[in-house]
Symmetry: C2
Subunit: 185 residues, 2 copies
DNA sequence: TTCTATACCGAACAGATTGTTCAATAAACA
DNA sequence: TGTTTATTGAACAATCTGTTCGGTATAGAA
């Protein structure tokens, strides 16, 4: 990734922000490029200079958001968290829930918009985390199931738990949700 | 539902078939009304006489397909199956897997196209079945989880199991898949 | 500060798609 | 057979997409 001109960074951010704001109002499919550039206050040609299509914009926004949330967890060494190997066994998912459940977290907006592309990315990232935590989930059930099925299953339960929280008024605490997650897996 | 003119039935079927065929080639979002009416060999005005928009067409197609698959299971009395109360406890889901996994079943095409609207309908129908079979799933876990969470969870695992089968080459038998499903829940 | 590269603008453009209208035609059903 | 109603095909405005272009403004280097 080459370093961006300040102007490029500003337009990129403006477009991202505009899309995020629009996503909390309507489905991605019904958002037009015209609306995005109007809200971002950016020229039409500028939009297409940054993103090939609306879908590519979503793709890059996903990558950007996931980067912030998941990279801290994946960091193998460093002066911060490095939760991956050091923390008590259940704190990776508790940490993830806490992080995702913050009000200012845009990933939730994308999750409730239910877009296929987003779900694919999210699942992909999640499966990486699950894979690395796999020993924690070994039990009677996991022995009898194909590993691929088991990983898919755990990631799917995580997302389902988050979705439940979203669709029932966001009442539960991260701790309660983590408990539900572990019980359900 | 009023009885349809034979002509209306024929156009309706032609449009449904056209959409199903197109769905196995490309995403729903990228299919145009022009393509549908060309493949269905139907006039443009005719299409819009039947369906308000492309989305409504998908909605009605879903309802049509689910009707065939789920209504037999929901039938309270009758001279056929009525699996609901009579059969051994696990045969509802085995039956459902078997039915869905048949090659000619169009629901799988819709499932692999991952469209939000379809998933919503599918989940809704599944949750009805799960609800009626809930006593079968009572165990240590279910006691500690909210009922709504538990129902969502079971339906989600069912779909995830089906999706796993779809995305790994459709190798497993309905019996094996049912076993995975019960182990994972 | 000055210079040069380049990102932005904005307007205009063709092409595709959507959803509607209408009069003429064909088919269904009683 | 006769009446009703669905279908047709073309034409239509409206919207959206993705591109092009000359002119302007800004960034970052010298």
């Amino acid at each position: 990734m080459e370093k961006l001109d300040r102007r490029q960074r500003k337009t990129r951010e403006a477009i991202f922000s505009a899309l995020i704001e629009l996503l909390s109002q309507k489905d991605f499919g019904k958002i037009t490029v015209g609306e995005i550039i109007e809200k971002a206050d950016v020229g039409r040609a500028t939009f297409y200079a940054h993103f090939e299509t609306k879908e590519f914009l979503l793709k890059e926004l996903c990558e950007d958001l996931f980067c912030h949330v998941f990279d801290a967890l994946r960091e193998p060494e460093g002066e911060h968290h490095h939760l991956f190997q050091c923390d008590p066994p259940d704190s990776v998912f508790l940490h993830l829930f806490s992080h995702l459940m913050r009000n200012d977290n845009h990933i939730l907006k994308l999750l409730s918009c239910n877009h296929d592309l987003f779900l694919r990315y999210f699942t992909e990232q999640l499966k990486e985390i699950v894979q690395s935590q796999l020993p924690m989930f070994e039990n009677r059930k996991s022995e009898k199931l194909p590993e691929e099925f088991w990983i898919d299953h755990i990631a799917s339960v995580f997302i389902q738990t988050l979705r439940f929280w979203l669709e029932t008024g966001r009442k539960e605490s991260p701790e309660t949700l983590t408990e539900y997650f572990y019980l359900a897996v």
